[in-house]
Subunit: 198 residues, 4 copies
Amino acid sequence: MSRLATFADGVFAIAATLLILSVDGQVGDERIGGQLTHAWPSYVAYAVSFVTIGIMWMNHHTVMTQIGRVDRRFMLATIGLLMCIAFVPFPTRLLAEHIRDSSARDAALAYGFTMTATAVFFNAVWFYAARGGRLLREDADPRVVAGITRTYLPGAWIYLASTLVAFASSTASALLYLALAALYVFESSLFGGKASAD
Amino acid sequence: MSRLATFADGVFAIAATLLILSVDGQVGDERIGGQLTHAWPSYVAYAVSFVTIGIMWMNHHTVMTQIGRVDRRFMLATIGLLMCIAFVPFPTRLLAEHIRDSSARDAALAYGFTMTATAVFFNAVWFYAARGGRLLREDADPRVVAGITRTYLPGAWIYLASTLVAFASSTASALLYLALAALYVFESSLFGGKASAD
Amino acid sequence: MSRLATFADGVFAIAATLLILSVDGQVGDERIGGQLTHAWPSYVAYAVSFVTIGIMWMNHHTVMTQIGRVDRRFMLATIGLLMCIAFVPFPTRLLAEHIRDSSARDAALAYGFTMTATAVFFNAVWFYAARGGRLLREDADPRVVAGITRTYLPGAWIYLASTLVAFASSTASALLYLALAALYVFESSLFGGKASAD
Amino acid sequence: MSRLATFADGVFAIAATLLILSVDGQVGDERIGGQLTHAWPSYVAYAVSFVTIGIMWMNHHTVMTQIGRVDRRFMLATIGLLMCIAFVPFPTRLLAEHIRDSSARDAALAYGFTMTATAVFFNAVWFYAARGGRLLREDADPRVVAGITRTYLPGAWIYLASTLVAFASSTASALLYLALAALYVFESSLFGGKASAD
C-alpha cells in the first residue's frame, strides 16, 4: 500500500510541476515585457490547476488514511485516476492560450471533461474501497468515511455542469472552474484546522 | 530494497506522466477544435501506454513483494528494465502521429520492439531473482511465484509476435497492442479482487 | 505527514531537474562551440536556481523535523509553497536568456517576485505551524524553532529589496540573487557541521 | 536521512527519464523510417547515460548504507552532486546530435566535463562523510568503506583523461565513455552477486 502511495505521489507531483511548461511556452525570446503581461491567463491557469491537483492529492491522502489493504482492482482504478491527473497539464495549456480567442469553447470543454473524468475515477476508487467496508481499515473513522462519501458524489456532477456551461459561455465556464478551486481552498482554510499525526 | 522500489516508482511515474507531452505536441496554437478531434489516436495511445506502464508497475510491485534481498546484478537488471520503461513515451508518440500515414509500419515496429525489450528485461529481473529462490523471501508465496513465472514467459513472445504482425499490417499490430492492454485490464478486473496489506 | 514530505520532495526534485530544459533550449543544432560559450548565463542561472531550490529543500526538511502533526490548512500552505517552487524554472530561463538584452529588467523582476513569493509562503507554512506550538512536536528543539523563526522573517524582505533593485539596475539585482545563493551555501558550509540522525 | 535519499532518488529518476526527450527530439514529423535509423547515436547515448546514471544511483545507494547521520554540509555536497546528475541529459543530447558533425569535439568535451564534475562531487560527498568516520554508522562495514574509497578516487581522473582525449579525437573520447559504462556493467555483473537485505 505504501508503494501505491509513493507511485501516486509521484504522478501528482510531476503533473503539478509540468504545468509550468505551459506557462513557459507562452513567453518567447524577444521583448518579453509585453508578453509577460499578456500571458496572465497562463498564470491564473497555472495557479488554478496546481491548487486543484494539490487539493486532489490532499483528498487522495485522506482516502488512503482510511484504507487498510489494497487489491489489483483498486490499483487499477487508481491508475485510471492518475491517468486523468497526468492529463491535466494539456487542457490547462489549451484553456490558458485560447480563453481569449475563437477556440475558447473547445478549450473550456477539454478542461472540464478532463476534470469530470477525474472526479468520476475518484468516485470509482472510493466506492470500490468503501462499499461494505471492503478495503477500509478495521479502525476507519466513520465520520471521515461518511464525509468523503457525501462530498465525492456531487463533485463529478458539479464539474459536468460547469463544463456544459461552456456551450453557453466559455468565460462563465472558466470562471466556474476558478470558483471551484477557490471554494476548495476556502473550505480547507475554514474547516481544515483539525490536526492529525498522519 | 526500499530505495530500489522508490527509484523504480519514480521512473514508472515520470515515464507515465511524460506521455502527456506527446498529446500536447499534437495540438497547435490556432483553431484547436478540428485538431482536438483529429488527434484522437494520441488519446488512445496515451491511455494504452499509461495503462500498460501502470500494469507493469503493478507487476513490478507484485514481484517486489516476493523479494527478500537484492544484489548489484538484480539492481542492474532493474535499471535495464527501467531504461525500457522510460523509453516508452517516444514510440508512443511515433505510433500516435503516424498510424494514419506512410510511416505507420516504422512506428508500430518501434513501439512493439520497445514493449518486447521491456518484457525481456522483466523476465531477466524475475528469473534472476527466482532461480533456485536466490533472492526470494523466506516466506515467499509459492502460488504467487508460480503465477509470475507462468505469465511472464509468454509475455515477451506475445509482444514479439504482435510486433512482427506490423510487416503484414501496422493497423492490425496497433490493434493487438490495444487488445493486450485491454486484456491486462480485464484480467485484473476479473481476478484482482484478492486484497493484501501490501 | 510522511506522504506530505514525499509529495514535497517530489516537487522539489522535479522543479530542480526541469531547470536543465532551459539550458538545453539555449543551444541549437549547428556549430555549438560558440553557443556553448555564449550560453554561460544559463549555466550560472542553472547553478544558482538548483542550489537555491536545494537550500529551500534543506530548510523545508529542517522545518518538518520540528513538526509533529499536520492539518489541511498546513497542507494547503505547503501546496502554495510548492506552487512557487515549481514556478522557479520559468523565471530562471527568462533571466538567463535576457540578462544581456533590453528585457533584462522584466526578467530580473519576474525572478525576484517568484523568490519573494516563495519566501512569503515559507513564512506562512512556518508561522502557521509554530504559532503557539500548534503543530510542533512535543519534543521540538527550542533552539531550532527560534533559529528558523529568526532567519525566515527577514528572508522575504531581503528578496523583495533585491527585486526592487532591478528598477535601478537589473545586473545589480541579478548579482544580489547570486550573492544570496552564495551566502546560503557559505552559511551552511560554515555552520552546517552538526550531524543528526534525520 | 531518509528524506535526503528520497530527494536524491527523485533527481536520479527524473534525470534518467528526461533522457528520452533528447531521443524524441531527433525524430521529426514525416517519413520517420530513415530518421529512426539515422538517429542511432541517440539510442546509444540514451543507453549509456541511463546506465551511467543508474550505476551512479547504485553507488549512492551503497554510500548511504554506510552513513548513519547527516549534517547540512553533507546535504549541500549531495545537492552539488545532484546538480551534476540533473545536468547530464543536456550534454547527452549534444553528444548524440553532433558526434557525426564538426561540433563533435565540443559535444564530447561538454559530456566529459559533466561526468568529471559528477565524479568530483561524488568524492566530496564520500570523503566528507568517511574522513575519520565522521558520518559513518557505528556498524559500517570496513571492507565496503575501503572499497568505496579505493574505487572513487581514480573515477574522476579516469573521466578527466577520457575527456581530454577529445582534443585528439572526439570519436575515441566517446568510445571511452561507452567503454566506461560497459566496464561498470561488466564489473557489477561479475562481482555483484552478494545479496543484502537493503
